[in-house]
Subunit: 335 residues, 2 copies
Amino acid sequence: MKIIVDVMGCDHPEKLVRGTVDAAKLHPDYTMVLVGDSDLIKANLGGGASNIEIEHAPDVITNDDVPTQAIRQKTQSSLVRSFSILTGSDDAIGLVSGGSTGAVLTGATLIVKRLSGVKRPTLASFLPTVDGKLVCVADCGANVDSLPEYIAQFALMANVYVKAVRGIESPRIGLLSVGPEEKKGDERTRAAHALLKELPINFVGNLEARYAISGDYDVVVSDGFSGNILVKSTEGTAKMVMKLLKSALTSSLSSKIGALLMKKSLKSLKKKMDYHAYGGAPFLGVKKLVIKTHGSSNEVSTAASINNIILMHERNIISEIETGLAAFNGATEQQ
Amino acid sequence: MKIIVDVMGCDHPEKLVRGTVDAAKLHPDYTMVLVGDSDLIKANLGGGASNIEIEHAPDVITNDDVPTQAIRQKTQSSLVRSFSILTGSDDAIGLVSGGSTGAVLTGATLIVKRLSGVKRPTLASFLPTVDGKLVCVADCGANVDSLPEYIAQFALMANVYVKAVRGIESPRIGLLSVGPEEKKGDERTRAAHALLKELPINFVGNLEARYAISGDYDVVVSDGFSGNILVKSTEGTAKMVMKLLKSALTSSLSSKIGALLMKKSLKSLKKKMDYHAYGGAPFLGVKKLVIKTHGSSNEVSTAASINNIILMHERNIISEIETGLAAFNGATEQQ
């Protein structure tokens, strides 16, 4: 079984190479295919591992490229080459890329293609919660103008995903809205609520954005536009509060001494809010496993993404998603 | 000139009374009318002030009441009495309430009524920014399913408001979306972008939620649903990070000593993120000034809200909003 890692188009290709080597050592049954500038890859292999292959792809898709054009025209780019390898054999099970989000999602849709019955694939991102766990937000920005039935499908797909990678038997799923009551929200959200109630999932109702990272939810489903706002404002606010804290810590001599004494505690706080530990966001609803990692990914997040691909593969989440959606689509068509 | 303060229906009516007394002393030209349980009010007047009147209203509208029903039926409630006094004379210029948001907005719409030309009034809330200033989010949750022209009106009204209360000549106004580019966002946001570009305001384009509190914007306009998610996730995340920080600070003896040494710096950090200092959220677009303060408001936020009513009154923001909207409505009707 092969896992493809597109190491280009992100901030630190060398860290993706090193993270892949770490993962290769942990998973000798899988072959890792590193795609990108072969000189750069070789220079960062370290001791390497026997289950690593290198695919030279000199060209890079950047955030300045128009995704659809780039996917069609930049055939020698590391990303398009990665997708070709992914779709080229049954052996290739998944792809990790830290490149342009738009290009990764476009490539997944155009080259890997949607699973039958999937209206819109969804990008599912984890946020750390206040109790040291994680909450999955789906959709977190791959979609806008989602119809209520898309949101219902996001919930079904995220349910399968969170079960697989976090081992939660019955994930608590909340619907992002402006108030906890069923009637709160815009027209789309109220219609989605009615659909979610009927699904074979643990739907716990609407939630307000202030409780998204409270630890009371395993999954937050949303239309994509508001989910993106939730994820980005949560990340942005946490970052800014930490920045303010840092400047407070160095604002006076006594603060500096205090900060030294608290170093260990502050480090554990920072670790709690570190997104690297849990890897990238899968694009659920396409025919193979695709994970988009952060542009600033490091060794830890690369290895975590690869690990999640293996977990998802071993738990058969693609066929589970197909089965779940077939039941849902059958039910809605009968109505 | 009278300013009415509904002290009931919030967590600490006594703090609203004391905050009003503070404001009354600062503004001897205005009369403050305290509405609520007269025994409770009298017990908290302290030395009082000569420019304070008390209106006994024994009944309370709570968050459990259905707003429309409560406004129509609970005629002896402090909130409905407050609205009656507000609309009863030209002398009464504004109202501050810490009661049920739904009831305050419903009362403002049904009793005070919209200004001519206003499609939807907007609730405009301040968030503290990382550089120690403020950003106004409009709409922050009074509306859902907003049309693009509502969003354009929110921008015009927030522009007038921020000029008045913050003294900024040309507020930088951003449109909440999922990416900075003009074409990013859902259908509604793209249409709103096109309208905002044509307005006589300092529209600086789309913004991502992660930069809302960066200090780069004075106003963030949104449809109301996503604005609510922005405000609540920002407040929720800041609160949770502070909670994590607090538990980190007391996790070991050396941390505790460190925290003591940093007490002053941490206090200034907490103050930076304190929403009390800048008062409540005005409901812009109705015929009189209405401010909804937080249910947990204290003396400081009550006095700040009253102060903002006076600022808005002295800057004639109601007639400014009318003029601005008339120009906009004239322009869109010509198209």
